[in-house]
Amino acid sequence: MIRIGKWISLIGAALVVLAPLVVVLFAAFKTHSEYATTGALTPPHDWFHLANFRTAWTNGAMLRGFLNTTIILVISLTGTVFVGTLAAYAVNRFQFRLKRLVLGLFLVAALVPGVTTQIATYQIVKSMDLVNTLWAAIVLFLGTDIVSIYIFVQFMQSIPPSLDEAAVLDGATRFGVYRRIILPLMKPAIATVVIIKGIAIYNEFYIPFLYLRSPGLNVISTALFRFKGPYGAQWEVIAACTMIVILPTVVIFLLLQRFIYTGITAGATK
């Protein structure tokens, strides 16, 4: 009995998770009249009816969205890796008096809910003349990321300091140690941070919504969000657009599961 109940609950949960997504997938392949006449649970007549995807892709300017998202991703992730590993290097490999204070600053900042401080952050970004440029999103994604620094520090602790000392004896500078020893050995941690933060940036809605107002600056989230207005009555096209946004996440998840679980666990229990 218990065994059966267990399987029923597992399969039930899987259905609850997947069904809302599957019905949207169905809708994405239906023609407008088919959508109007068939029920939500009916599979599409023609699985190769791609017209909705074409409309979504061109009229929703999804290409521009992906392009902008990619630019933001590449620059802010590269920046995060360097800013984060450098900070972790200082924290983990140097002894200094104000270290506790610095760590405290990062920890407290992690508690501040980002959505609320944007009211004041907006004025700062505005005073830097960055509103309505991709740089607004880039600098905000770069800043204050305790989770990345935490993952870097954790990993750096497992790199024996004797390696540093050996390199210093061979004449390396402290920066040389960072560049030649630490950074190459940090690859797994860097991969974790890049994946976790990459997903977070891809999914971020509020910051691009607030700072990237002009249509040419749409990222994935805002392109999808602003697509709804003009196509409000054409759910089959919105469904296709939604599926276009979800697809990369599916691929990344299937390929990189292990890294994602590690990173999420490390990040949330900080």
Binding site: V17, L210, Q257
Partner: protein
């Protein structure tokens, strides 16, 4: 020696970003909150405690605070469901990774996409009504249009989105318990319930405590799902949506800042209480 100070060079970029985009805004926010300002004019007029008085006494603001309760109640459901599946999948090898992946997947999805998926699901006469029709509950419902049920629908969406995260955290915590403890307990005659009660529960107390704290601060700062799905209409306006509108639509920066400061203080207070109740075993960051 100049060497003694090089660590500040390594820290400088991180600290500069941290101060510019977190600490300066927070300080400014406190300053704004005592003023009346539209965000544009070069001068602001002092308002004393006026903004705070309004946030704490006005009926409208109390209402948006109460909306958090739906999400807070929903997070109990979320934690319970996550815990159940974490325990079930701990003792089951077959298809574990498949179910783990399925349950976790919604957490990775784009918030706007999640919002649209559920807008579609909740359409009157849409998927949900059709499924309920099979179960004998007929009729179309205004899942998002009826102020009496809209908040339940949105809180439900949030459970769908975030249960996977709690589940993976619980599963990780349970799996870090040494497996020979179960064997030893079994030899001593313990059944599954005893194993849960005396081995698993103490092992994951900390992460469950943490989940509740996150649930409180999370339900106070709900924004994305209701903003995307209803825009705050039909009684679904949350505190943060209200703060957003106050600042960016009504241009009352001072008032919005007071709201943000109140929220910030609440979150800090809750975190402080949590640290007192569940002290960290180890602070590994050094």
């Amino acid at each position: 020696m100049t060497k003694a100070r090089t660590h500040w060079l390594y820290l400088a970029p991180a600290l500069a970003l941290l101060i510019t985009f977190t600490y300066v805004p927070v300080a400014n926010m406190v300053w704004y909150s005592f003023h009346k300002w539209d965000g544009l004019s070069p001068t602001m007029t002092g308002a004393g405690l006026g903004n705070y008085v309004r946030v704490l006494t006005d009926e409208e603001y109390r209402r948006v605070f109460l909306v958090s309760l739906y999400y807070f109640a929903a997070s109990f459901l979320q934690i319970a469901v996550a815990l159940y599946f974490a325990v079930v999948l701990t003792f089951q090898r077959r298809l574990r990774n498949l179910f783990k992946g399925i349950l976790f997947f919604p957490y990775l999805l784009n918030g706007v996409a999640v919002g649209f998926v559920f807008l579609y699901l909740f359409q009157p006469g849409g998927t949900l009504d059709t499924v309920l029709g099979f179960l004998g509950v007929s009729g179309d419902h205004l899942w998002l249009g009826d102020p009496d049920i809209a908040n339940y629908s949105l809180a439900g969406t949030s459970v769908w989105r975030f249960t996977g995260l709690s589940f993976v955290l619980f599963l990780g915590a349970i799996q870090s318990i040494p497996p020979d403890l179960y064997e030893a307990a079994e030899i001593d005659g313990a059944n599954r319930w005893h194993q849960f009660r005396f081995i698993i529960a103490p092992g994951i107390r900390r992460i469950i405590g943490l989940s509740f704290i996150l649930a409180i601060s999370g339900s106070l700062s709900v924004f994305e799902i209701p903003f995307i799905m209803t825009g705050g209409a039909n009684g679904t306006r949350t505190f943060v949506i209200r703060a957003y509108e106050t600042a960016f639509q009504f241009r009352q920066i001072g008032l919005a800042s007071a709201m943000a400061v109140v929220l910030l203080l609440l979150v800090l207070l809750i975190t402080w209480v949590q640290r007192r109740i569940v002290p960290d075993e180890e602070v590994t960051l050094s």
